[in-house]
């Protein structure tokens, strides 16, 4: 058992840290409320939050009907055969419209999900769903189907706090995953190794814990997993299942996919791999092997139940150690939501928000590859750091966002739209008139709001000095400039 935090050590900063890491942060009032609830009740609240399903109805387009195959079937065309030239033309038209729909739907889905992350009463479930999305990283660029992407997101959410074994089994049958890693194309006679390789390399064991022969055997075991084009659901085709004897991890039998998953879960290294990854996401990089092994042993013994694992982590003293607090770089998705929280504003409109996330390197449903986002220091380069600084200007309603093409060839440069910021920020709430009379108090209040901690005197003084010549009349614009300065710092990128 990890040493728990002593209840007496619970303070406002730790409440803020819990909310930042287990969820997506909060306003000063929300942190106050959590702090006053006390340590035990705070952790309970996050782990056993009310169901939010009714508050977030699924996007209207997210139906089994929305697939390209369905459109082709509806038009009375054959799925497999090319058909007459007229048929081919009709298919081309369907495909073109379908591509446009997918693009539109995916932008909608990104907005839908970020809004849910930002406003749900169950933020831990969304935070875990984001973790699982990065873990089972699947991209619409190859799946090309917004319904399947939505469905996978829903499946990840359902299992987010359940047990990891069920999650892996669900992913092995997930229609988006079956397209993404070619499982649906895997043939009895020619098993495709893509899913089999990543299942072990990325999803459960980590490289070095299996052989190339194990991959081949596993690929055979998963043959027969198909997606029904008529309703976008998984089905098992016994005819396409390779039922020969397979040798996996030294055992021989006619294994199916679930057998393979069970044998993988039987390895302590699987629990260790997952605990290390979860710890890195929620706490810090490179946890000590002893800590990982200790947590992993219980994780495996508890049938890979995620809820008790998260409970132990959030109650541990280590989670609140100096090595953890404000030592993580905000993920772009987190950065976006935290901006809205600290400013008590709504999220930016979906299109500029997606544009911003692209510049910062994290678009949900479009990970760079099946390994997901590297995270940590990889989020930050000179380019993305300046982009964060400049996008915060847009976020506080201080300027437009120029959607520019990558690169530049002066003669042909496309004129790009300047999207004006429509941010509505209640400056009286954030910087009440009474506070504006006392620049020191104003800087302190905004620091707590933005950084969830006080600044060192040297830094506070910079901001106070900035306000000094404007002191007579600190209007909303001055507060904006101050906020932009505070957000244009290395420190604001940390959580």
């Amino acid at each position: 058992m990890l040493t728990p935090l002593k209840p007496g050590e619970w303070d406002w900063n730790k409440a803020a840290h819990l909310l930042n890491r287990a969820g997506f942060g909060g306003t000063p009032e929300q942190i106050d409320a959590l702090y006053h609830a006390g340590f035990d009740r705070s952790v309970n609240r996050l782990l056993n939050a009310p169901d939010d399903t009714a508050e977030f109805p699924k996007p209207v387009w997210a139906t089994q009907d929305s697939s390209q195959q369905m459109a082709i079937l509806h038009a009375g065309l054959d799925l497999a055969a090319a058909g007459t030239p007229a048929d081919q033309e009709a298919r081309k038209m369907i495909f073109r419209k379908y591509q446009g729909d997918v693009r539109k739907n995916m932008i909608d889905l990104v907005g839908w999900w970020l809004n849910r992350m930002a406003t749900t009463p169950d933020p831990l479930r969304e935070k875990l769903t984001l973790f699982w999305h990065g873990h089972f990283a699947t991209g619409v660029t190859k799946v090309r189907d917004s319904y399947k992407m939505w469905l996978q997101n829903e499946t990840l959410r359902q299992h987010a706090l359940g047990d990891f074994g069920s999650m892996v089994r669900a992913m092995s049958r997930d229609p988006a995953m079956l397209v993404w890693l070619d499982g649906a194309d895997s043939l009895r006679s020619k098993p495709n190794e893509n899913w089999a390789r990543e299942l072990m390399e990325l999803f459960t064991l980590g490289i070095g814990n299996y052989t190339e022969d194990d991959i081949k055997a596993s690929a055979k075991a998963f043959t027969g997993y198909k997606v029904n084009p008529a309703n976008q659901t998984f089905f098992y085709s016994p005819l396409q299942h390779n039922d020969e004897q397979k040798t996996f991890f030294g055992k021989t039998g006619d294994f199916n996919g679930d057998d393979i998953i069970n044998m993988i879960l039987g390895k302590p290294v699987c629990a260790q791999y997952m605990v290390r990854k979860i710890w890195r996401f929620f706490v810090y990089d490179n946890p000590a092997p002893a800590l990982v092994n200790d947590l992993a042993a219980r994780f495996q013994k508890n049938g890979y139940a995620i809820h008790p694992l998260m409970n132990e982590i959030f109650r541990s003293a280590e989670f609140y150690s100096p090595r953890a607090i404000r030592m993580q770089i905000k993920r772009p998705v987190e950065w976006t939501i935290r901006n809205a929280k600290v400013l008590e504003a709504s999220l930016p409109p979906t299109i500029p928000m997606t544009n911003a996330l692209r510049q910062l390197g994290q678009i949900p449903f479009d990970p760079p590859n099946v390994k997901g986002w590297d995270g940590g220091k990889a989020w930050i380069t000179t380019s993305t750091l300046l982009a964060r600084y400049n996008l915060s200007n847009y976020v506080i309603g201080n300027g437009g966002m120029t959607l520019q093409p990558v690169g530049n060839n002066a003669k042909k440069a496309r004129p790009m739209r300047d999207v004006p910021s429509r941010a509505v920020i209640d400056f009286e709430k954030i910087a009440p008139a009474a506070l504006r009379k006392d620049t020191t108090a104003l800087v302190k209040s905004l620091s707590l709001r933005l950084f969830q901690t006080e600044l060192i005197p040297y830094a506070s003084q910079r901001f106070i000095d900035y306000l000094e010549p404007r002191k007579a009349d600190i209007d909303d614009q001055t507060v904006r400039e101050l906020l932009h300065l505070m957000m244009s710092t290395p420190d604001y990128q940390l959580t």
Binding site: E201, I380, T381, T384, N408, T453
Partner: protein, 446 residues
Amino acid sequence: MHHHDDDHIIEPHTNTLHTRREFLRTSMLGAAAAWTLPVFLQKTFFELDAMAVDSAVQVTTGKDSPILVVLQMAGGNDGLNTVIPYADDVYYRSRPVIGIGADKVLKLNDYVGLNPRLVGLKSLYDQGHLGVIQGVGYPNPNRSHFRATEIWQTASDADQLETSGWLGRYFDSCCSGADPTVGVTIGNELPQSFASPHPTGVAFSNPEQYRWVNNDKNGSDQVFKQLNQPDDAGVDDNTGGSIGMLSGNQHNNENPLDFLQRTALDAQLSSDKIIEIACKYKSVVDYPRTHLGDSLSLVGRMIAGGLPTRVYYVSQGGYDTHTNQTGTHDRLMTELNDALVAFTKDLQAQGNFNRVMLMTFSEFGRRVQQNGSNGTDHGAASPLFVMGGGMKPGLYGKYPSLTDLNAGDLKYNVDFRSIYATILEKWMGAPSKNILGRQFPFMPLV
């Protein structure tokens, strides 16, 4: 505070640009001894000092230094359909659908030729500006995209884990204290080949946006600079005196704040110059409007403007052609060809072609045999291109046998680290043995 002897610090060549070292010296060394430096700057000082007494130090900036451009073809390029063994029946038997007809191949000799889309590269070859290196790989090839890419980026053995990149170690070894733009990546992410314990290099894709933009003309800029540059570091106030604004941060190697501060400093130092060049220099040739074309156009402008960069990094994705590969691969070859042709013309017009060498690489080649869906699966050895005005052109290495295979894949005969060693030592003038961990044989490329 540590004493710094000016005599030990080598002056950079250029007068126009503040190198990081120059910047640190002018802004920090004159500072009162009571000032406590941010931890990462302290480290930098000790290193600069240690480095200054090392005679192997190479001053890296200056207008005439050779430049390396690395072009990553991400996803595993099908080498067999790039440099095609058109005289080999095994090629056509293995690839009944996706094999490229001998009549279309752009022949280099009586056995191999280039993909028909690489017309411009063929001319460059004929003009003596292109090297084609065949059968490049390494022992015990890995077929995972991530691991194989990591092996190429870090130049490690297949069974060794190395975190720093080969170019990062070059920067560390030869450019320590240099301007951060010594390494430039077009894009938002630095490649692992730039990784090092002391990260060097900047990334950008839109020079016009590569600066801090604000609306307040009265003083914001000044405060911003103070917050993001250590040119006016805080006095010790019992918090460690870091420009890190928050109390309670511990300093250690993993500290992300040190890293963020360093990146903020690099952004500040590079932004003005990059924008200035972007405003002043426009391409005189038409680049194709592709991602790669845009990237190389930007590199061309930065070279024209004299950015003191030794290594540029660009990438082209999409080479993971498991299904119906022909159309996709054709398009990629066309994009590659058109972008390289434009880049060459640009550099020739600038008069810089002789000081630039471009090297392509991909994490692996693909299987000899086409697969069940008219594509190809992950393979091993494959060819790469080296291009430039100052190199010895020709066909290097030998084409791997199509029948003597290693688990269905081509065997390598040129270790990619021999190419790195040659480029480092013969082109960049750097000690390749230190950077690559051992001495790899040189190739007569330069």
